[in-house]
């Protein structure tokens, strides 16, 4: 794999260009307790994602640069980070869509404790998720075959089944940033997934949990979550539906 810059690009060849990444680093073991910015300039191709650029920086320049990743195509939820000021998945962000002329700023997602570089402690996030009973509760006798559910009933909660627990939404929410106590959009999305599932019997309990002072009522319809969700889930809409279900249940 040698550089092919000197050769004229063939027809249809993906163009090659240089990008600069400006990465917010935090490496307490070697650089003390303060975050700092480091710039990497690397060569990229037209179809490269930001994740490819991060890999190049790590693999070819500085191996200590740390970030999580796995699937590399937006389905595992490992690599949510703040790219040019907005939460996105590095593996779903094409460099050419980012204006590679200017340095690309990469920071860890906000509101969760940073452990190293772009890696944050996800435990508080998962703790909220676990609290909303994210599993089907069915009191009825299980049939020997499948339970029936119409296509319309399934459609009711289809959107929120797409969640990959990447935390892009929760960590983009200004209410969550304030004290990290708000359940956060992701937990509500996952509650929504069950509350509106015709087979589930614990909707009332989940609504009860989210009626908490750190629950849905803290949402101020800011929409950062909806903008950030890499799965295109209409997060705020889901939250709205949960709020309305709560109001109708109470009155």
């Amino acid at each position: 794999m040698t550089a092919t810059l000197s050769e004229p690009a063939a027809v249809g060849e993906v163009p090659t260009f240089d990008v600069t990444l400006r990465i917010r680093r935090f490496t307490p073991e070697t650089h003390g307790d303060e975050a700092y910015w480091q710039e990497f300039t690397i060569q990229a191709h037209g179809t490269d994602r930001l994740l490819d650029a991060l890999h190049k920086a790590k693999w070819d320049v500085d191996g200590s640069l740390s970030f999580r990743r796995s699937c590399a195509h937006g389905v595992c939820g490992s690599d949510a980070m703040r790219i040019n000021g907005r939460n996105r998945l590095a593996c779903k962000t094409l460099l050419k869509d980012l204006d590679p002329e200017k340095p690309i700023t990469v920071e860890p997602i906000k509101g969760l404790p940073v452990i190293k570089d772009l890696i944050v402690d996800m435990e508080p996030f998962f703790a909220s998720y676990r609290e909303i009973m994210p599993f089907l509760v069915s009191e009825s006798q299980k049939p020997t075959k499948e339970r029936l559910q119409s296509a319309e009933q399934r459609e009711r909660f289809d959107d929120t089944t797409k969640c990959i627990l990447c935390a892009a939404c929760t960590s983009s929410c200004p209410v969550f940033w304030t004290d990290g106590q708000y359940f956060g959009p992701a937990a509500i999305v996952n509650a929504h997934r069950f509350i509106f599932d015709s087979r589930d019997d614990a909707g009332a309990q989940r609504l009860e949990i989210l009626n908490d002072k750190e629950g849905v009522w803290r949402c101020r319809t800011i929409f950062n979550c909806t903008e950030a969700c890499p799965r295109g889930i209409e997060v705020t809409k889901a939250i709205q539906e949960v709020k309305r279900a709560m109001v109708t249940r109470a009155y």
Partner: protein, 126 residues
């Protein structure tokens, strides 16, 4: 951690900025309301006292501030309606950006109607 370099500002969009504005205007109106009730209370002291304070509202600087306050209230009110629609109208969340521009538009139109009249009163003398 005093000198850690600041991170960047989160680049939220319509939803975030309208929330920031809603919060700021709400706070502003609240503080004004406290003052406003106090000054109005002076009617219980004496007509002279009340008129003296109200006189202060009529000078050009206060007049401008007053205009700003009205703008804040108008925006807060319209955006409040937008928030309510987002919460209760099934299609609200999908239309929030459009509604945000409508809020700004309505605020602008209303202020365009109000300002000449008000500033005319403030600067126009008696």
């Amino acid at each position: 951690m005093a000198t850690a370099p600041a991170g960047t500002l989160y680049r939220g969009r319509e939803g975030m900025w309208s929330w920031v504005a809603h919060r700021v205007t709400g706070m502003l109106i609240f503080v004004f309301l406290l003052v406003h009730v106090l000054d109005t209370s002076l009617v219980r002291v004496s007509p002279e006292a009340y008129n003296a304070v109200i006189g202060a509202y009529k000078n050009p600087i206060m007049g401008l501030a007053e205009a700003g306050l009205v703008a804040a209230i108008v925006f807060h009110a319209f955006n409040g309606i937008r928030v309510i629609l987002v919460d209760f109208w099934w299609n609200g969340p999908r239309r929030q950006k459009l509604m945000m521009w409508i809020v700004l538009g309505l605020t602008f139109v209303l202020m365009a109607g109000f300002l000449p009249r008000h500033l005319g009163n403030v600067f126009g003398g008696h």
